[in-house]
C-alpha cells in the first residue's frame, strides 16, 4: 500500500516536472500535447521508481542493498511483488475488471444501435465509446491469458521456482496501471475516436485524447515485449532436470510461440504510434499525403504487428484448450509433435500475412495475390490444432465438468471464426465484406470465441489450483450454455448485416437494417447478463467453495502435483521429469518425481489398453 501511494505521488510529481519544464522551455499552454507527452514520460519513470524499482534496481546501481518488500497477505497484491504467482493473480484480477469495463462499453454500443437514427449517443460520443471498447478488449485479448496463466503456470509446469527475471516481471505488470490511467484520462483532452486501429490522417487531426491513446498503448507494447522476453527466457533456461523440449506441456509451447511474436513484432506498432505522435506534436508529415507523406505507411507498420497480435491472443488459447481437453478426456494429446510444429509455423506465417487487411486500401494490386496465398496457408497448421483437439476427445473418457464443456464450445466458436475468416482472406469476397459488419462478427468469433472462451476455460480449469476451492459446477455449465446461446444470437445476425450493407463503426444505419440490429442488441443484453453469473460464481467459490485438494482433476502435469495454492517457491523438493506430460492410459507412466518426496504423482489409474511408453510422441 505504501509503495502504491508513493508510486502515485511520484507519478504525479513526475508528470508535473515533465510538463512544466516543457512549458517553460517552449511557452504555449500547459495543456499542449507536447507538455502532455513529456509529462507522461517523466511521470511514468516516477511511477516505476515509486512502485519498487527505486527500492531494488536503483539502490543497487548506487551500491546500496536492495529493499525487498516484506508485505504479506492480501496487501502483496497491491504492491511490487516479484513472485510469479502474485503477478499472475494481479494480471487475472486486472484483466477480468478490464473485460467487464469493455463489456459495459459494448452494452452502450448495442443500446445505441438498437434503433436507426440518433439514440442515446451522438455520433462523436459513439465513436469515442466504440474506440474505448476496441482498445480495452484488444488489451484484454493480448494480455489476459499470457499475463495471468502464463505467469502463474509456466514456471510451475516446467518445474521452476519463479520466472527468469522476477523483478522485470513485476515491472511488466506495473506498467499496466499507467496504460489504464492514460486511456481513462483521455476524455479530459477530448477523447480519441479513431477506433483501436488509429489510422492517420484521422488520428493526427482529431482531439487531444488521441495523444494519450498513443502514449498508453506504446507503454502497453513495452509491457508486452518485456513479458514475452521473460517467458521465452524462462522456458529456455529454467526447465527442471529431465524437462526436455519434447516433454513440455502444450500450454508452455503455446506461451513460447505467442511470446516470440510479442517480442519480435510489438515494436512495429510502437514505431507507428511514435510516428503519429511526431506528426501531432513535432510537425513531421509521415502520414500527410499532401506534403509527401503516405497514410498507407502507417497501415503497413500497424498490421505488421497487429495481425501477428491476433496470434498472441489465440495461441495461448490453443494451449489452454488442448491442455484442458487432454486432462479431462484422460487421453494423451493427439499428435503432440505436429501441434508443436503447427504452433511455431503459425508464429512464423503470422508475420507475412499482414496486408490481407489492406486489399481495399489502394496498395499496389500485385501484392494482393501473394498475401491472399500466405493467409490461406495459415489454415493448414490451424487445421492440425483442430485435428488434435477433436482426435484427443475421440474415444476418450470425457469428464463433462465446466472446463471441458467450455473447451468443446471453444472448438465450435473458433471454427466459426476460422471459416468466416476465409471469406475475408479471399480478395474477391473481401472487396465486398471488408469494413462491414461481417468483419465485426468474424473477429468476435475469433477473438471472443477463440480467446475469451479459452480464458474462461482456463479460469474454470485452474481455479481450484489458484484458490484451493472448487466452483459450483452446475452453475458453471448454466453459465457456459447461457453465454454460448447469447453469443450466437448476438453475432450471427451481424454476418447478415454485413453482407446486406451495414458498415462498421457507425452510430446510425439505414432503417431497412433495423430489425436485425434490434435482435442483435436484445441478444447482446442477454449475453452481457451471463457475466453477472460469472462474477457470482467466482466470488462465491472463492469465499465458500468446497476445498479442492491438490489434484481435483487427477491430472498429470506438474502444477497438479503441488498443493493448492502452491507453496511460495512452488516445490518442496526438486522435481525431476521422467516422461511425457500426458501419459494417460499407459500403466506406470509418470511425468515427474520429487527429490525427498515419495508421493505426489497422480494416482495411477487402471489402464484400459496396452500402450507404448509415454515418450513416443
Amino acid at each position: 500500500m505504501r509503495q502504491l501511494l508513493r508510486a502515485v505521488i511520484f507519478g504525479i510529481l513526475g508528470y508535473l516536472v515533465g510538463a512544466v519544464l516543457t512549458w517553460l522551455v517552449r511557452g504555449g499552454s500547459l495543456g499542449d500535447e507536447v507538455c502532455v507527452v513529456f509529462g507522461y514520460v517523466v511521470g511514468l519513470v516516477g511511477w516505476l521508481f515509486g512502485i519498487g524499482m527505486g527500492d531494488t534496481w536503483v539502490r543497487e546501481w548506487f551500491g546500496l542493498p536492495a529493499r525487498e518488500s516484506e508485505v504479506t497477505g492480501w496487501k502483496r497484491y497491491l504492491g511490487f511483488s516479484t513472485n510469479h504467482k502474485v503477478i499472475g493473480i494481479q494480471y487475472l484480477a486486472t484483466f477480468i475488471v478490464v473485460l467487464l469495463l469493455g463489456g459495459v462499453a459494448a452494452m452502450i454500443i448495442r443500446l445505441e444501435l438498437a434503433q436507426a437514427g440518433e439514440g442515446i449517443l451522438n455520433a462523436d460520443r459513439y465513436n469515442q465509446i466504440m474506440s474505448m471498447h476496441g482498445i480495452l478488449m484488444v488489451a484484454v485479448a493480448v494480455a489476459a491469458i499470457l499475463g495471468s496463466f502464463g505467469n502463474y503456470l509456466v514456471p510451475i509446469m516446467i518445474g521452476a521456482d519463479d520466472m527468469a527475471f522476477p523483478r522485470l516481471n513485476a515491472v511488466t505488470f506495473w506498467l499496466i496501471p499507467p496504460v489504464a490511467i492514460g486511456l481513462l484520462a483521455a476524455p479530459a483532452l477530448g477523447s480519441f475516436d479513431a477506433g483501436w486501429t488509429a489510422y492517420p490522417p484521422l488520428s493526427v487531426v482529431n482531439n487531444g485524447g488521441q495523444i494519450l491513446f498513443v502514449l498508453a498503448v506504446t507503454t502497453f507494447g513495452l509491457s508486452s515485449i518485456l513479458g514475452g522476453l521473460n517467458v521465452i527466457t524462462t522456458i529456455v533456461t529454467m526447465r527442471a532436470p529431465g524437462m526436455t523440449w519434447g516433454r513440455l506441456p502444450i500450454f508452455v509451447w503455446a506461451a513460447f510461440a505467442a511470446s516470440m511474436i510479442s517480442l519480435l513484432t510489438t515494436q512495429f506498432f510502437a514505431a507507428s504510434l511514435v510516428l503519429i505522435a511526431m506528426d501531432r506534436v513535432a510537425g513531421t508529415v509521415f502520414f500527410d499525403g499532401a506534403a509527401g507523406g503516405d497514410p498507407l505507411l502507417y497501415q503497413h507498420l500497424f498490421w505488421f504487428y497487429s495481425h501477428p497480435a491476433v496470434y498472441v491472443m489465440v495461441l495461448p488459447g490453443f494451449g489452454v484448450v488442448l491442455e484442458t481437453i487432454t486432462h479431462m478426456s484422460r487421453k494423451p494429446l493427439f499428435a503432440y509433435k505436429a501441434v508443436v510444429v503447427s504452433l511455431l509455423t503459425i508464429a512464423g506465417l503470422s508475420v507475412i500475412v499482414w496486408a490481407h487487411h489492406m486489399f481495399t486500401s489502394g496498395m499496389a494490386e500485385y501484392l494482393h495475390g501473394p498475401f491472399m496465398f500466405a493467409t490461406e496457408m495459415i489454415s493448414v497448421p490451424t487445421g492440425v490444432i483442430f485435428l488434435s483437439a477433436v482426435a484427443t476427445l475421440w474415444r476418450g473418457r470425457l469428464w463433462m465438468k465446466t472446463p471441458l464443456f467450455f473447451a468443446m464450445i471453444w472448438i465450435f466458436q473458433f471454427l466459426m471464426g476460422g471459416v468466416t475468416g476465409i471469406f475475408l482472406a479471399d480478395v474477391v469476397t473481401d472487396v465486398s465484406l471488408h469494413d462491414s459488419y461481417f468483419v465485426v462478427a468474424h473477429f468476435h468469433y475469433t477473438i471472443m470465441g477463440g480467446m475469451i472462451f479459452a480464458f474462461l476455460t482456463g479460469i474454470f480449469f485452474w481455479f481450484p489450483k489458484i484458490t484451493g476451492r472448487m466452483i459450483n459446477d452446475r452453475l458453471g455449465i448454466i453459465f457456459a450454455v447461457w453465454l454460448t446461446i447469447g453469443f450466437q444470437l448476438t453475432f450471427l445476425p451481424q454476418f447478415w448485416l454485413g453482407t446486406n450493407g451495414m458498415n462498421r463503426r457507425i452510430a446510425d444505419y439505414p432503417e431497412q437494417l433495423e430489425g436485425a440490429n434490434l435482435f442483435s442488441s436484445i441478444s447482446a443484453y442477454f449475453l452481457g447478463g451471463s457475466f453477472l453469473l460469472l462474477v457470482y460464481i467466482l466470488l462465491s467459490a472463492a469465499r465458500r467453495g468446497p476445498r479442492a485438494g491438490d489434484n481435483p482433476w487427477n491430472a498429470s502435469t506438474l502444477e497438479w502435483q503441488v498443493s493448492s495454492p502452491p507453496p511460495e517457491h512452488n516445490f518442496s523438493g526438486q522435481p525431476t521429469v521422467l516422461g511425457h506430460p500426458y501419459g494417460y492410459g499407459t500403466a506406470g507412466s509418470r511425468h515427474a518425481e520429487f527429490a525427498g518426496v515419495t508421493t505426489g504423482g497422480p494416482t495411477p489409474p487402471e489402464p484400459t489398453g496396452a500402450g507404448e511408453g509415454g515418450d513416443n510422441e
Binding site: N127, A194, G195, Y199, L202, V205, D288, G289, P295, R330, K331, P332, Y336, K337, G362, E365, G369, M372, F373, E376, V380, V384, L387, V390, L393, R395, G396, R397, L398, W399, M400, M408, I411, F412, L415, V419, D426, V427, V428, T429, V431, S432, D435, S436, T499, N500, N503, I506, D508, P510, N551, P552, Y584, G585, P605, E606, T608, G609, G611, E617
Partner: protein, 248 residues
C-alpha cells in the same frame, strides 16, 4: 473393429450427413445476399456461395465429431476419474492425410475463387466512361467526362464499364457501393481506381444498397457520408449528362 467403435463412426457419419444437409438447405434455399446491380456483384456472390458450399461440410464434420464425443464418450464420475482412455499418441498416416487434404483445399480456394476470381473481378483495365470522385469530410463530389458535376449524387449508365478515379482531400475514406459489392479506399495523396459495370436500371428508392457509403471511419459524419446511386439506361444517361453540362 468392434461393434462399439463401428457405432461411433456410424453416429459420426449420420450426424455429419444431417448437419451438411441442413447447411446446404440453408445456404441454397434461403437468399442471404441482397440484390445484384452490377456484373461485379455476380462475381463476388459466386465466390461467396462457392466458399459457403466448401465450408459447410468442414463445419458440419467438426460439429458432428463434437456432438458424437459428447453423446458417446462422456463418463459419469464419482469423485475423481479412475479410468483412462486408450493411450493413442498419434496416427501418423491420419495426420499426413489431414495435412495433405487441408493443404489441397487451401491451394484450391487460393486458385478459385482466389486468383481466378481476382482476374474476373478486375477484367481489362479499359473503360467506356471515367468518373472522378472526390471525397472530403463528409461528402462526395462527382465529375463526369464532359465537365458535368454533381454533389452527393451519383448517376451511372447501365451496361457500360465505368472507371472511378477516387481521391480524398483530407482523411482516408472508403468508396463502397453495397449493391455492386465493391469498395476501394480514398487516400489523400493518391488516386485509387475501381472498375464496375452496372446492370439494371434503378435508384436508391428501389434498393437502399444502391448508395455510396463511406466505409472507413472518418469522424463525426462517417455514418451519414453516403450518396444515392441512380443507374440510368445508356441513352437516358447520355441525355442527362449533356443536359447537366450545358446547364452548368
Amino acid at each position: 473393429m468392434d461393434q462399439n467403435r463401428r457405432n461411433d463412426w456410424i453416429w459420426f457419419g449420420s450426424l455429419w450427413t444431417a448437419f451438411s444437409a441442413v447447411g446446404f438447405y440453408l445456404v441454397l434455399g434461403i437468399d442471404l445476399l441482397p440484390a445484384q446491380w452490377a456484373h461485379e456483384a455476380e462475381v463476388v456472390d459466386d465466390a461467396y456461395i462457392l466458399l459457403m458450399g466448401l465450408s459447410i461440410p468442414i463445419f458440419a464434420g467438426v460439429a458432428a465429431a463434437l456432438l458424437t464425443s459428447l453423446l458417446r464418450f462422456r463418463v459419469q464420475v464419482d469423485g475423481t476419474p479412475t479410468e483412462d482412455g486408450p493411450p493413442v499418441h498419434t496416427n501418423r498416416n491420419f495426420v499426413r492425410l489431414w495435412v495433405a487434404s487441408t493443404l489441397m483445399l487451401a491451394l484450391m480456394i487460393t486458385v478459385n475463387p482466389g486468383f481466378i476470381g481476382i482476374a474476373e473481378l478486375r477484367g481489362e483495365p479499359s473503360a467506356d466512361i471515367v468518373v472522378e470522385v472526390q471525397s472530403q469530410r463528409w461528402s462526395w463530389k462527382v465529375n463526369y467526362e464532359n465537365g458535368a458535376e454533381t454533389f452527393n449524387q451519383l448517376y451511372l449508365p447501365a451496361d457500360r464499364r465505368v472507371r472511378f478515379d477516387i481521391t480524398s482531400l483530407d482523411l482516408v475514406h472508403s468508396f463502397w457501393i453495397p449493391a455492386f459489392r465493391v469498395k476501394i479506399d480514398a487516400v489523400p495523396g493518391r488516386v485509387t481506381h475501381l472498375y464496375v459495370t452496372p446492370e439494371g436500371v434503378g435508384s436508391f428508392e428501389d434498393d437502399f444498397n444502391l448508395r455510396v457509403q463511406c466505409a472507413e471511419i472518418c469522424g463525426l459524419g462517417h455514418a451519414q457520408m453516403a450518396m444515392p446511386v441512380t443507374v440510368l439506361a445508356p441513352a437516358d444517361f447520355d441525355a442527362w449528362v449533356s443536359d447537366l453540362a450545358e446547364g452548368a
